[in-house]
């Protein structure tokens, strides 16, 4: 019987985070986590405008694992509206805070782009709502063998 692979979580503190123009999104989010002692968190809302966006797309026909030649990495100057930032903050196996983010941005034409976010810089504004969560047992981020990036790991499946 193939049971679901899950962990129950309870909500912790909620934060409103503002990132200023020119600052790097990923760096600021991780600094925030260190500063506030947030171990695990999820982005519940994020809007603003960004520039220097570095994202990845997976090539048609690619097989696992998704190594560099199987993805297209885009460096997009922008600036763009940031429509949404999805993802989570979960520490890596060395206990350092780490995040996995996907971003949605739009051009002046309204054309929307998105992908796995490597990094971006805030252009004019960035307002992020973050929700801390607590979980029993271990939730860590490992370098995923198949995805080619780091994703969180919920301990053994049938723990």
């Amino acid at each position: 019987m193939d049971n679901a692979w899950y962990k129950e979580c309870s909500t912790g503190r909620r934060f409103l985070l503002k990132i200023s123009p020119g600052e790097k999104l990923v760096e600021k989010l991780l600094n925030f986590a260190e500063e506030t002692g947030v171990k695990n968190a999820v982005i519940s809302s994020a809007i603003g405008s960004v520039t220097g966006v570095r994202i990845r797309g997976i090539k048609a026909g690619a097989k696992l694992p998704i190594t560099a030649p199987r993805m297209n990495i885009y460096e997009l100057d922008g600036p763009f509206e940031m429509l949404d930032l999805e993802g989570n903050i979960v520490p890596n196996d060395k206990g350092e805070s780490d995040c996995h983010l996907h971003i949605l941005i739009s051009k002046s034409t309204g054309e929307v782009l998105g992908g796995h976010l490597f990094d971006a810089r805030v252009f004019a504004s960035c307002e992020i709502m973050i929700e801390e969560f607590f979980v029993t047992g271990v939730v860590e981020r490992h370098q995923s063998k198949s995805g080619g990036i780091s994703t969180f790991y919920l301990g053994d499946k049938d723990e």
């Binding site: 090539k59 048609a60 026909g61 690619a62 030649p69 199987r70």
Partner: protein, 308 residues
């Protein structure tokens, strides 16, 4: 092999994949590139035989005096993938991909080539791609296709399948191909890659063939697909700069050197203004002439672009 993106590809000759007599003549043809064909030149019941023959021939063709591309069957046919598995280990220079209607189709070939390079322990990006733009959809998407993979070094226009797809007749004058050709050209030029024109099937009518070669050269094509060795010399003649063109190009370069010495970026040459685009074109004429052994001339880039 020098940088594949720069090599001269004026004449790209089709060679049927299931004919040993033609395959083993490849070393003696004087074309720049060969397209060994596993697709339309090979009947359905001989696809397996041609694939084996071609891979063994290419493996035996060691010190190559030209580029070797293989036209595999389209990836959505039952033969395409097996063609790749069979021919890639013999290390052709690249693949001509038929029916390249969308960027995704080319991307799919790109990832397959990556997998083969990893299996064969080759540098990623070794195998190049020349997609065939041979349908209305292909022409529409040619701009994205030209940019969708660093392996794509040229777009090749295919009028036989294009005119069939458009349900129109392929004529010798080729007026019906004009808009498709220009869009394929813009796509290739905008992406900084080469553009190869379609075949001219009537090998007996060399006059109409020469006229078509002159037209496509004037439009901006860098080469042409050929179906018979006799067509190669005509292409090389038409694509070679004329003596008077070479002479004028040398005058332009000498004029701009004088201008630079006088500290100006422009100068008049028998009444015509010589500015940067004119200098760049003159440099291209000289480089082509030198590479075709028509001229012996030392040209340093500083002359063309001017010291920063």
């Amino acid at each position: 092999m020098s940088d594949p993106t720069l090599s001269l590809r004026r004449s790209l000759l089709y060679v049927p994949g299931n004919m040993p007599s033609m395959l083993q003549n490849i070393p003696v043809f004087n074309c720049d590139t060969v397209f060994i064909d596993l697709e339309d030149a090979v009947p359905l019941n001989e696809k397996d035989a041609a694939r084996s023959l071609v891979s063994k021939f290419v493996a035996s063709y060691k010190n190559r005096n030209k580029e070797v591309f293989i036209r595999i069957n389209a990836l959505d046919t039952e033969w395409g993938y097996d063609d790749l598995l069979s021919v890639l280990p013999s290390l052709p220079d690249g693949i001509r991909l038929p029916k390249a209607d969308t960027p995704e189709i080319v991307e799919r070939l790109d990832t397959m080539l990556t997998e083969m390079e990893e299996t064969l322990g080759l540098e990623i990006g070794t195998f190049k791609i020349i997609p065939s733009i041979e349908s209305a959809m292909g022409v529409i998407n040619s701009i994205k296709i030209a940019r969708c993979s660093s392996r794509v070094i040229a777009l090749a226009f295919g009028a036989e399948d294009f005119t069939a797809d458009m349900e129109i007749e392929r004529t010798k004058k080729g007026a019906e191909l004009f808009s498709a050709r220009t869009r394929v050209l813009w796509a290739a030029k905008a992406a900084g890659i080469q553009a190869v024109d379609t075949i001219f099937a009537d090998v007996g009518d060399m006059d109409s063939f020469r006229t078509e070669v002159e037209l496509v050269k004037r439009l901006g094509f860098t080469g042409k697909s050929l179906v018979n060795p006799r067509q190669v010399d005509v292409v090389h003649e038409v694509f070679a700069p004329k003596p008077e063109e070479i002479e004028y190009a040398k005058q332009v370069i000498e004029a701009i050197i004088r201008a630079r010495e006088m500290g100006t970026g422009v100068i008049a040459l028998n009444g015509k203004m010589i500015d940067a685009p004119v200098v760049k074109r003159a440099a291209r004429v000289i480089k082509t002439a030198v590479s075709q052994g028509l001229l012996d001339y030392e040209l340093d880039d500083e002359v063309i672009y001017g010291a920063k």
